[in-house]
């Protein structure tokens, strides 16, 4: 954990402490602080904006109610992502886990400031993520998107570290074979993991 992460965690713990005393300003601060990364994280599970907002609010309702119970065994961000992951799985069970197709997202809802390069990058990534299972997408998001360690991801997904390593390996091999290579070489890796 680098210094920036440490400082962020200290600030988050202070917000939790204030929330446990009923401070709604602290809740609003934490909500805005996590909203972006939770949106992106949950977008790996569903493409429905209403479901994403519902899950974020479910997550922060639990965070608000349990703020006083946080024991500090992990980083606050790991704790909140774990809650969001479980709320997300619950929402998928209720709403069905079929994500809305990308085509169903109106063109005007994509930020107009998105440069062409980012749009190309999104399309490139989308081709790869479509081939992954939900669990593999979550692991890739937590490692490459959020920057969590294997141990953090295991805590969030409530599974052994070995399971996370296997999911990460399978996901990387699949992406390596699916995503168009930059240098134009053909895929060379094969999945030998049982």
């Amino acid at each position: 954990m680098n210094e920036a992460d440490l400082n962020a965690d200290v600030a988050d713990r202070m917000l939790l402490q204030r929330m446990s005393a009923g401070d709604r300003v602290a809740l609003a601060t934490l909500y805005h602080s996590y909203h972006g990364r939770l949106c992106r994280f949950l977008a790996r599970l569903t493409r429905r904006a209403d479901v994403i907002e519902e899950v974020i609010n479910d997550c922060f309702l639990v965070t608000w109610q349990k703020a006083g119970d946080f024991r500090g065994d992990s980083r606050v961000s790991t704790w909140i992502m774990g809650i969001a992951y479980r709320c997300g799985l619950k929402a998928l069970r209720q709403h069905g886990d079929e994500p809305v197709e990308d085509d169903a997202v109106p063109e005007e809802r994509i930020p107009s400031t998105d440069p062409d390069e980012d749009r190309e990058l999104r399309d490139w990534l989308g081709k790869g993520l479509d081939r992954l299972s939900a669990d593999q997408r979550v692991v890739i998001e937590l490692v490459y998107g959020v920057g969590h360690t294997l141990e953090d991801v295991a805590t969030i997904m409530q599974c052994p570290v070995g399971t996370v390593k296997a999911r990460l390996f399978h996901a990387r091999v699949k992406l390596r074979n699916v995503l168009p290579a930059l240098a134009g070489e053909s895929p060379i890796y094969k999945e030998n993991v049982p």
Binding site: M1, N2, R24, L27, A28, Y31, H32, H35, G36, C39, R40, A43, R47, A49, I52, E53, I56, N57, F60, L61, W64, V105, R109, I110, P111, D114, D118, L121, R122, W124, L125, G128, I140, E141, V143, Y144, G145, G147, T149, K165, A166, L168, F169, R172, V173, L175, R176, L179, A181, L182, A183, E185, I188, Y189, K190, E191, N192, V193
Partner: protein, 214 residues
Amino acid sequence: MTFPMNTSQDCLRAWEAMPWVLQDSATQEQSEWLKNHLAHCESCRAEFAQQTRLRRAMSLPSDIPVDANAGLNRLLSRLDAPMPQESLPFRSRPRSGNWLARAMVAAVLIQAIGIGVLGAKLLSTGNSPAYRTLSQEPSPVASGAIRVVPDANMTLTDWNALLHSLQLQVVGGPNDVGAYTVVPARSNSATQHTLQKLRGTRGIQLAEPVASTP
């Protein structure tokens, strides 16, 4: 876990180090080793370039617009609202337990009341048992009582007429052998005379004073 074929141990090490070097959580030694390896391994260089692109793509903000302020307002409204329906199971569980406990208590009370009523009934019948022990005093017999055995063919009309004419009333019977216990309706009636009349009446098989019974 086995690594993809046709790769050296160094490439395996590079493959495993890439995500952590990219997210800046690898040690400095690990980062420098990877940098040196990439300098002379074209395959891993291409892989690392793709991993770098993957990380950049994953870092892009979500393309699904979700209004944070509107969401926060809805969350605050939920905090002020009564407990939502989905939370009820956690709270209703003890309630359902209370109902179950109450039902069980009611059942036990009903059983207790039933047992009490039954016990009281048994106690009340226990005051007059259908048997008598030898040590018990015999039940008092009215003076002038006569045990009478009418004939089986005697009609009820004749029996009633006989009792009326002799001013007798039945106070017991019939017992197992068909005997009735009769006493004079008026205490001053002459028992001996009544006894003779009974014995002389047609249809009366036996008439004996109770006092003379051994």
